[in-house]
Structure formats: C-alpha cells, structure tokens
C-alpha cells in the first residue's frame, strides 16, 4: 500500500542577517490514511518548519532547498502556487497553536467555516451553511452562534472553530501545530477526544507537532523525535516510550516529572547553532553516551525493528554496549516483559 503522505530528505533553510539557518536537514517519514504521527522536540528543532514546508507556508525568507513532499504520489514541492491553492484547505489543512492565526476577526465564524467549502467545491450557499452548521455542532459549537465573531468565543471554542475550518473539506491530512498547547487540560481533553473521533469516522491522517509527551501518548500511532533539524528516532509510540534508543530521546523522557520528589534529569548544554551545524550527530556534544564517531560523522538510521529506527552510532554493529540511565533501563525491562 502506497503511503498517503511521503516526506523525503527534506531540507529547509532561512536566510538571516547572520547567514543561512539550516532549520530542517534531511527529514523523511511517511504517513498512511488514518494514522497519527507525532513530531516532538524542543523549540528550534525544526518540527513546526517541517509542517509548514509540507503546506508550502514558509515565511518569505525560508526556502525548501531539496527533497520531496508527495501526497498520493504527487510532489507538492513541484506544484505551482495555483495548484497548491487547490490542495491547501482541501486535501491538506493546518491547525495552529493560536487559533487567531487562521480566524478572521471581522467575519462571522459560520461564514469562515463555509468559505473553504465554497472555495473548493461547487456547492450552493445553502448547502454550505448546512454543512458548516453540522460540523460546528460536531465540534461542540451551537449552530445558532454561527453569526457571532471570533472575539465572542473562548480560546477553546476558537480552537474548535479552527478545527472545523480545517476539516470542512474532509482533508486527507491535517497538520496540527501544537493545537492544544494554549488550552486548559479539560478543554485539551475535549479537543483530543474530538480528533480521535474524527480520525475514526473520516480516516483523516494527522501530523501532530507537540512538545507534550502526554498528548503524544494519548493520540499518536508513531512518534518522530527531532533534534537540530533532523529526526533522531522514529518508531511506534510504544517503541519510542518503552524501548527508546537515541540518547536525546532518553534525555527527553528523563526530564518528565515523576511522583518521586528529587532532582529531575536534565540535558546539560544547549542546542547547536544551525547557522553552522556540527558535522556529526548534533546532539553528541551534550551527550554523555556519545562515541567519538558521533562527534565526527553523522550517523545513518539503524533499524531496531521494521517500524523503529534511530540515528546513533550506538546501534552500529560492533558498537560498545552501553548501560542507559536507570529510568530508561526500567522502560526497557517493561518492554521485554511485555513481548
């Protein structure tokens, strides 16, 4: 079965006064219908830029330097702006952290939900209004509020309206960039339930950019861990949480608070300067487990299982066996027990 969305060796850079920032340095993944891929990593790791590049929505100073983004086999990076306008909001749509990014403060919300439908399909105004009302009801917004403006809604309601706009054309893929980060936990729970239900009923696939590992555990099928513009580990959600292989993933999981009070594990140092990325594994200078080779030569992906791979020389044949931190060892033990 061919994948629905395929990103291959994507490179994105931004020109700045100081030089070219290499924000995404060779990202590849694929997504099948109905799947949720979570992309995690810290600020500046390139996770949001990846999502925007797929949509063709990079800032003016950004450019895709090489790579391919194929939707049902068709390369979106080769498409003209005119062709892209037919894809955006129809086949692929995007939800942002701040719903006001996509809501027009001067337009009633009902019309904003109808607009992409009217733009992409030959549907009557009356039918579009009915479809918008039905979708708003599904996301928990009473249809009698269709004539109200965004400022008359709470943050959580606005995000649900943004979701309705993103979903009105039943897209193949939704790119969601921190869609629940600004929301309270109970509202977040409603949105996550809604996403899970929509995916079940419509088969929409999703790329979910987030830094919240709780959200990842609750909705994702697969997880891509990004660091300094590259994916360092990619696997099923269970593989990444219970059988993590890259030391950066170890650090990320280790910094989560637990019931025990005491010191949290932290990753010393800070991410590299992407104006001049280091030659090897970009995480190596902060990595107590790095091998000399990690500092010099970028590690390729080594397969852990057919669905799980990680880019670290620790996985190379003949690499010295390394004892991971105690909390990771406990995860591995749990993984072994359940096999």
């Amino acid at each position: 079965m061919t994948p629905l969305l395929e990103v291959e060796d994507l490179h994105v850079s931004f020109s700045t006064d100081a030089g070219r920032v290499q924000a995404v340095r060779g990202v590849s993944f694929s997504l099948r219908a109905g799947e949720v891929l979570a992309v995690v990593g810290e600020s500046g790791s390139g996770k949001s830029v990846t999502a925007r590049a797929i949509m063709g929505l990079l800032a003016r100073n950004g450019s895709v330097d090489s790579g391919a983004v194929r939707l049902r086999g068709r390369d979106l990076l080769q498409a003209s702006e005119r062709e892209l306008r037919r894809v955006r909001g129809k086949d692929v749509s995007m939800v942002f952290q701040d719903p006001m990014t996509c809501l027009d403060p001067t337009m009633p919300v009902g019309r904003q939900v109808m607009e992409p439908l009217r733009h992409h399909t030959r549907v009557s105004r009356r039918a579009a209004r009915a479809a918008a009302a039905e979708l708003l009801a599904r996301v928990g917004i009473a249809p009698d509020r269709m004539r109200q403006y965004p400022h008359q809604f709470s943050g959580g309601q606005r995000q649900r309206i943004a979701l309705a706009i993103a979903l009105v054309n039943r897209p193949d893929v939704v790119l969601a960039d921190e869609p629940t980060t600004a929301l309270d936990v109970s509202v977040q729970a409603q949105i996550l339930d809604l996403l899970a239900e929509l995916r079940r009923t419509t088969g929409t696939a999703m790329v979910l950019v987030t830094h919240d590992l709780g959200v990842v555990a609750s909705v994702a099928d697969h997880v891509a861990v990004m660091y300094a513009g590259r994916i360092v580990e990619l696997g099923t959600t269970r593989e990444v949480f219970y059988h993590p292989q890259h030391p950066y993933t170890w650090g990320l999981l280790g910094s989560l608070p637990t019931a025990q009070t005491g010191r949290l594990e932290t990753v010393p140092g800070s991410p590299p300067d992407l104006l001049d990325p280091p030659p090897g594994d970009a995480f190596a200078p902060r990595n107590a487990y790095a091998l000399p080779r990690d500092l010099e030569e970028a590690p390729p992906f080594f397969d852990v299982s057919p669905t799980h791979r990680a880019a670290t020389w620790l996985l190379a044949p003949g690499a010295p066996a390394v004892e991971p931190p105690a909390d990771v060892r406990a995860r591995w033990d749990r993984w072994e027990e359940q096999r």
Partner: protein
C-alpha cells in the same frame, strides 16, 4: 511557623452587572519553608490570588497577613520597603515580563536601585546571575538575545537579588520547553534550599506541581475545592472537580493512556464550604456531589 495567612479573600473585577468574582472566600496558610502549589484552570482565580499575595491588588474583602501583620498595612507602613523586598514574584511569560530596552544587568539591578540600595550593586547582580546559572557575559545582553529558559532565569534573578523570603511563582515554567522546564524546576529547588525560601507555586501543569509541592490547593471558579499534602491530593483525590482535573491530564505513558477514563464535572451549582476530613486535609462539601 505560619509565614502567610489568607483569610476569606474576595477579589472582583468590574462592577454592576458585568462584575466578575475572581476569588471568593479563599482562606489558606503557608508555613515558612514550604512550597504550596496552587492549581486550577484559566479563570479559576489562581493568578488573582498570587497577585493579592504580593500586594499587586488590594483585597476587596478579607485579608492577607504576612508574618502576622496585614500585608497592605505593612507595605504602606514605615517598614514597607523591607516587606516589599521580602515578598517577590516571578511571572509566567519571560518574553512579556522583561523590558526589551534594558540590559540584563539593569533588569536584575532594578529592585535594588528602586530600594536605593546601591552598596556593591555590580557584585550583587553578578552573584545573583551566577546563582541562577548565567555567567557574567549575560549581564550586558538584551532580552531578545536570550532563549526562553535564559529569560526565565533572568526573571528569577530579578526577584532574588533583593533577598526575598517568600516568592510567588506564577506559571514559571509553562512557556518553556520540557527539557528546560526540568532545569528551571531544579534551579528553584536549589535556591529554595540554599536560601531557605518559601514558595507559592501557581500552575496548571499538574504533574510538575505535584513534583515540587509539599501541599496543594485546587481552585475552581474562584474557590478552593480541596487542600492537602501533595501525595494525598494526587493519590486519592476526594473532590469530584479534583478527580476530573486529574483525569483530564494525558499521561506520558501510552499503556496507561489506553486504559484511562475521563471524569467530567459540572459544579456550577455547587456551593459548600471547606471541611477538614483528616489532619491537614480539607475538601469542599458540596451538595449533592459528596
């Protein structure tokens, strides 16, 4: 020993029909050396409570007492400047709370300059930056040259330079990356131990509040619904709102997530008062939920 005592605090915004009661009849005490975690969702009144505690808003009714004295009176009195220095606040958004036109050294020094305490100013600023993990080169930088975690360290240094006893931390880590959150939480724990500080830690991130707090208070619609030792409130939540809040937090554990059920709570009619159900454990007795 009780350091801070809030009794029947009420705070409102606006007047007439558009009046909003942000905090209603809130009472709690914080002992010296303790970390008290105050959790709740947007609009629950937790930030308003924090602002009342540092004297940014005078209470509409009720009182905030610091070391046994009425805080508003103490701030106005002859020792006002000293009390002002003892009670400090660290704000949520390190991007919005630092003046972009000021260098880090001036931001950190400002509290001392205002207090006309210029003795060894440069040295104290440098030592405070060092205490929060920023080397001397940061003193000359501007906020836009710093990462989010570094800015929050500056925000913490600004509060600490005047040697406070009590610090209100209003969502100090929620704008930061997970890995940076852990660094800042560890820093706050170190500073507390070294300087014998007392914290009021306000947050909506329940996992982190549990990690840092000795006791926790849960707020809903301007009122406390449950107060108790952190482990008990998390391990055995008694009020239905606390249960619903805990059940809404996704856990970073895929297997646990699969088996989780969410509890919803509509407490719009609930109106009970806090009752001590066991030593140090208070729960609001709402009809007909409990």
């Amino acid at each position: 020993m009780t350091l801070l005592e809030i009794a029947h605090l009420r705070q409102t915004y606006g007047r007439g029909r558009s009046q909003v009661v942000a905090v209603d009849d809130l009472s709690l005490t914080i002992a010296e050396g303790e970390t008290f975690g105050l959790v709740g969702e947007s609009g629950s009144g937790k930030t308003t409570t924090g602002r009342a505690v540092v004297g940014l808003h005078a209470p509409v009714s009720g009182s905030v007492r610091y070391r046994g004295r009425d805080l508003a009176g103490a701030l106005r009195g002859r020792a006002g400047a000293a009390v002002r220095r003892e009670v400090q606040m660290v704000f949520q958004d390190p991007y919005a709370s630092l003046d972009p036109r000021m260098r880090v050294r001036d931001i950190v020094a400002e509290g001392l300059v205002i207090a006309r305490d210029r003795r060894d100013l440069v040295g104290r600023v440098a030592r405070t930056l060092d205490a929060v993990g920023l080397d001397a080169s940061f003193a000359e930088r501007y906020p836009h040259e710093l990462s989010g975690g570094q800015r929050q360290r500056v925000g913490i240094a600004r509060a600490l330079v005047v040697d406070p006893r009590f610090v209100v931390l209003d969502e100090p880590i929620s704008a930061l990356d997970v890995s940076v959150q852990a660094q800042v939480v560890n820093l706050l724990a170190d500073l507390k131990r070294e300087r014998g500080l007392t914290y009021l830690f306000i947050a909506h991130d329940l996992a982190m509040v549990r990690h840092v707090s000795d006791r926790i208070g849960v707020m809903h619609r301007g009122r406390l619904v449950e107060v108790g030792p952190a482990a008990q409130v998390y391990g055995d939540p008694l009020h239905p709102y606390t249960r619903s809040l805990l059940s809404a937090v996704p856990l970073p554990d895929p297997d646990a997530e699969r088996g989780r059920t969410r509890i919803t709570y509509d407490g719009s009619q609930a109106d009970g008062s806090l009752v001590e159900v066991s030593s140090g454990r208070f729960v609001r007795q709402d009809r007909p939920d409990i």
